[in-house]
């Protein structure tokens, strides 16, 4: 059995790694860090683990369906997609490839997440001073128009040089 399982697990991983995010189809779930694990359990069922980006992520059901359907089409009869809530997803998990693809598609990628101190979460009354590059012209002369954008994971900005509005993926 083992000899059969190993190549098929590799195939399963390869297939799962090609499934893209429904809202940002230039990124795979693997690029985003949403795809956490692919393994076979003792009964031969393929177990795929994914984690939501935000609690209210509306794309979870679609991601689950897409993974299942792609893997079933790839010859796996028994596929189970599981949710993993802990540890909570962070933009730090987006791969270098993912960061590059975001920029190429006009979305400013997240910068690193600040390490949280032990005490209570500090209040930030002024807009944090992050250097955010315009994905169109590269200028750092940009301003934030809204902390909340078209999807949970993005904020709205505009470039003061080339005047283009753009999305930034929020650090979380």
């Amino acid at each position: 059995m083992t000899a059969d399982c190993v190549p098929s697990l590799e195939l399963a991983r390869a297939i799962a790694a090609t499934v893209t995010d429904p809202e940002m189809p230039m990124l795979t779930l693997a690029d985003l860090g949403v795809l956490r694990d692919v393994h076979l359990d003792s009964t031969g069922t393929l177990i795929v683990a994914i984690t939501p980006t935000y609690s209210g992520c509306t794309a979870m059901a679609t991601m689950r369906d897409d993974l299942r359907m792609r893997l079933i089409a790839g010859g796996f009869d028994s596929v189970e997609v599981r949710t993993v809530l802990s540890p909570a997803w962070s933009t730090d998990w987006i791969s270098d490839d993912g960061l590059r693809k975001l920029t190429e598609h006009g979305i400013s990628p997240p910068t690193g997440v600040a390490v949280q101190s032990q005490g209570p979460v500090p209040l930030t009354l002024t807009v944090p001073r992050r250097v955010i590059h315009c994905p169109q012209c590269g200028s750092t002369n940009t301003e934030r128009t809204s902390e909340f954008g078209g999807t949970s994971c993005k904020s709205l900005h505009r470039c003061c040089d080339c005047r283009e509005p753009f999305d930034h993926m929020k650090e979380i």
Partner: protein, 305 residues
């Protein structure tokens, strides 16, 4: 049906018959998550506690969603809807956790109903079964009123979730860890707006002060620990609310100082023999919220959503 070439294809459930209403079929938000109870934690208490936390989030989400198409600016509409969506997501996980901890809290639906437990809890409970604090059900009022209420709620919620990250219930701890990141953004948003409104025009200042007078009488209730909350805090699964008050006050003092606002009033809304939202005693507004939230689902108890 591997790819969604047709917008309608994705809406049709592969094994549905005649019960389909709208949307795709449900999926369990806790699919694959281990919901076994840790030793020493009472399932009935944990379920009630998750209803309290979940209902606070659900009713807040419903109130914020009511701003859609009527916010003062498009950016604020998007912001309020996004914040509402975060709370809706938290509510869904918490209601699902409540149902897994004690299935007897879930309303009984007709045999064969495809409605999942968390939806049954949201759409088929009556008003006295909701455990949210009364603060979250207050009318939206004007934008200042919504901002003041959001500041109070997100400050309270963030302190709660921050402590719940170390809950002995691993599901609650995971939901809290995720929620902390979201609510940090909500609190900053509301705090910045409060400072802006208080320091804006005479009119915005007047409205902000009126909003504080309207909302504050419901603040004390957030910290009145219900016996369920006390027992779970003692068991290491919940938060000791008395430890949160100082943190809450210190955050709000910072915001009020920056906004050059006087200390908030100490008035308290009346409760019924000491009972309020956590006991299912609500304000008049609650019935109207539930009518809007529940009427369609209740008309279709066999609906697949």
């Amino acid at each position: 049906m591997t790819d969604h070439d047709s917008a309608y294809e994705g809406l049709v459930d592969a094994d549905s018959h005649d019960q389909w209403a709208f949307g795709t079929s449900f999926d369990d938000p806790l699919a694959g998550v281990d919901t076994t109870l840790a030793p020493g934690i009472d399932g009935t208490d944990l379920a009630k506690y998750c209803l309290m936390l979940g209902d606070d989030a659900l009713i807040t989400a419903q109130r914020l969603a009511q701003w859609s198409t009527r916010a003062p600016e498009l950016e604020e509409e998007v912001a309020l809807a996004n914040i509402g969506l975060d709370y809706l997501g938290q509510a869904r996980l918490l209601l699902a956790r409540a149902a897994a901890a004690d299935s007897t809290v879930v309303p009984v639906l007709p045999d064969g109903s495809p409605i999942p437990a968390e939806d049954a809890l949201a759409f088929f409970r009556g008003e006295p079964e909701f455990r949210n604090v009364r603060l979250v059900e207050l009318d939206n009022g004007d934008f200042a009123c919504t901002i003041v209420r959001l500041l109070v709620f997100s400050t309270y919620r963030l302190a709660q979730l921050h402590h719940l990250r170390s809950s002995r219930d691993p599901v609650l701890a995971a939901v809290a860890s995720k929620g902390v990141k979201e609510v940090t953004y909500h609190r900053d948003y509301a705090a910045r707006w409060l400072v802006t409104l208080a320091g804006g025009t005479d009119e915005s200042r007047r409205r902000t002060e009126a909003a504080i007078r309207r909302v504050w009488p419901f603040v004390f209730e957030l910290f009145e620990a219900h016996p369920v909350e006390q027992r779970l805090a003692a068991a290491g699964a919940g938060v000791d609310l008395s430890t949160l008050r100082a943190e809450f006050d210190s955050v709000l003092a910072q915001v009020f100082h920056a906004a050059e606002l006087p200390e908030p009033p100490g008035a308290k809304a009346t409760s019924v023999g000491g009972r309020a939202g956590r006991d299912g005693i609500h304000t008049e507004a609650m019935g109207y919220i539930l009518a809007e939230l529940q009427s369609v689902a209740r008309a279709h108890p066999m609906g697949r959503w």
